[in-house]
Symmetry: C2
Subunit: 348 residues, 2 copies
DNA sequence: TTGAAAGCGCTAACAC
DNA sequence: GTGTTAGCGCTTTCAA
């Protein structure tokens, strides 16, 4: 109780009184503005320490129009249905962890904070937009994997600094980062072919996600350049279980299969299990190439040969782009493309 | 540019002018305060819609002293060293995802936002405390698995609403939730014994975490009641890799082993791999019981018999406790204990 | 280099 | 039931 009273009452004014200067001067030393007499500076600092003063963020934001935090908005169009609710799925996905990790790496040293927001239906989207308009944050990192997501456009119209996690589906002025999926899929195709695989199939992610579609198309394209006219595919949903089912399906329909490109490591892990259940040897009987190089890749049996998706680096770059456009709002929007690489382990 | 001007200039005042009422009245309809004439209410709402008005959060916070957001502080004492940096590890741990998920489940419907904060060394801790004192958030959820973490006490001294993810190591007045580790370990022990295991060992988590220590002690205690005077143990660090190594070690040192309790599913998954590498059958030769019932449990080969740790429910309850104490700051601190349950699958 | 003073946009007494 | 008004704590011209 008493503590609370104290907390509430220590303001710039008090510090100024203790230091025997004006509020303006105290403000100047706190914000490190030049032209403050070194002696006064010391006095003021002593007063701050003595009073235990801490600036009030709301008051500061009110005048500076800066909050010192940015939002990470995770978006998903409404129509999608899964067994698990969106919240459970997203936070359990290793991809999300890598994303957050990359963002925090650049935010923390600068003392910028991260506010987590979900937008999985129209109501949540309106709420999000309202929140952003209220000036809660200085900018948004928008993670929006689905091609038909309305959020990128909605956020662009806000004229609030924002960065998107992929190339926008429609031409809108927003900065973005992108992984060159084609580079990755070509690497996978070349590797499978170099191994001598003759009967190659693929397990794709959900085809309403931009990345999934590009990986499928890219892989097929690369294989066609090796003379493979037809590449059977089964659609998964990026979960391990879906990879397992897809692989089983592939084995049933296409028993001569000797190579498979799986669009995520988690699904590849499932595929490995399906293979193991049928006593199919990897890579001797079937070679498996994953995508992502997430933590599970190393833990698989056999460890996964995969395409490294530099998620953390991309997330860090998004954050840097965002911070840049907060600093200088009138810069043109920028794009940064990342090149995936091949990581050879044991599965192919 | 013009948009930005517009955004900046739409205030309560403008809405009031358009509606032909006072600012106070507009404020009342926005905040849904009673005693507003229904007719006026409509007029005001129309004016709000017409102007596209959105309240300024900073101005609002300044007077209400509420921000509408809470922090999730994830803490770790400095001296710990791992291969991976803290940021990468924490966000990759499935536990963290479940925690976040449980929190968001109760925060979202109430429109409260989550700010993510890390505290892995003294500097970060000071920063965190400063941030909290600035009134950025209305309360804190403190995830602090380590017994010697100074943060719980530091936060308690702030007299800011807070909830801890475990029983505090020292007696301090803070609300907390807790999983009854003993219940869980007893379930594991009883199950292993009922299966007829004669040579039982355990793989523990890092022993500077409260939960790890309790699981080890609890398991030993429960086994001793079944006449097992000595239970060998190896310490892991909750990673899959550490589980693998620990299991290999156990197999070397203790070849007659026929049952093992592993303090997390991730480590159990690693243990399963070590077992598989040596062609030890599970559960026929060695029965394995995990802990957590996280997503990997179902994905293991064989699927893991495990102790369900109701992480999401606990996180949700922490959030409810926090919201409650934000609402009524002078309530006494509360504790809620959760009971783990046994989930029988194939590994034991 | 420093101080005085004008707000930033909103809520909450208080008066009508 | 509605309007008036006094701040909330801070930054930032503008003078001195």
């Amino acid at each position: 109780m008493s503590t609370r009273e104290v907390r509430r009452s220590i303001t710039l004014e008090h510090v100024a009184q203790v230091a025997g200067v004006s509020r303006a001067t105290v403000s100047r030393v706190i914000n490190d503005v030049r032209n403050v007499d070194p002696a006064l500076q010391k006095t003021v600092q002593a007063a701050i320490a003595a009073t235990g003063y801490v600036p009030n963020q709301a008051a500061r934001s009110l005048v500076t129009r800066r909050t010192g935090s940015v939002a990470l908005a995770v978006s998903e169009p409404e129509h999608r249905t899964f067994n698990e609710p969106f919240i459970g799925r997203i936070f359990t996905d290793p991809f999300f962890g890598r994303l957050t990790s990359g963002i925090m790496t650049v935010l923390r040293p600068r003392g910028v904070n991260l506010v987590l927001m979900l937008a999985e239906n129209d109501e949540a989207r309106s709420h999000l937009i309202g929140y952003l308009r209220q000036g809660h944050v200085d900018g948004v990192i928008l993670f929006s994997p689905h091609v038909d997501d309305p959020l990128p456009r909605m956020i662009t119209e806000l004229s609030l600094p924002a960065v998107l996690s992929r190339r926008p589906s429609e031409p809108i002025p927003i900065s973005y980062v992108e992984a060159a999926q084609q580079t990755g899929t070509k690497l996978a195709a070349d590797h499978l072919v170099a191994r001598g695989c003759q009967h190659v199939a693929t397990i794709s992610g959900p085809l309403d996600m931009a990345a999934s579609e590009e990986r499928l198309a890219g892989f097929r394209d690369a294989m066609s350049r090796h003379g493979f006219a037809y590449i059977p595919s089964v659609e998964g949903n990026f979960s391990q279980e879906s990879g397992e089912k897809a692989m089983a399906h592939l084995l049933d329909e296409y028993p001569e299969i000797d190579g498979v490109f799986v669009a995520s490591d988690l699904m590849a892990q499932g595929a490995l299990l399906a293979l193991q259940d049928r006593n199919v040897r990897v890579p001797e009987d079937v070679a498996v190439v994953g995508f992502d190089d997430s933590a599970v890749a190393k833990a698989c049996r056999p460890p996964l040969t995969t395409i490294r998706h530099p998620v953390e680096d991309m997330a860090a770059e998004m954050t840097r782009l965002l911070l840049g456009s907060i600093e200088k709002p009138d810069q043109r929007v920028k794009s940064v493309i990342f090149e995936p690489t091949l990581v050879v382990r044991k599965s192919a």
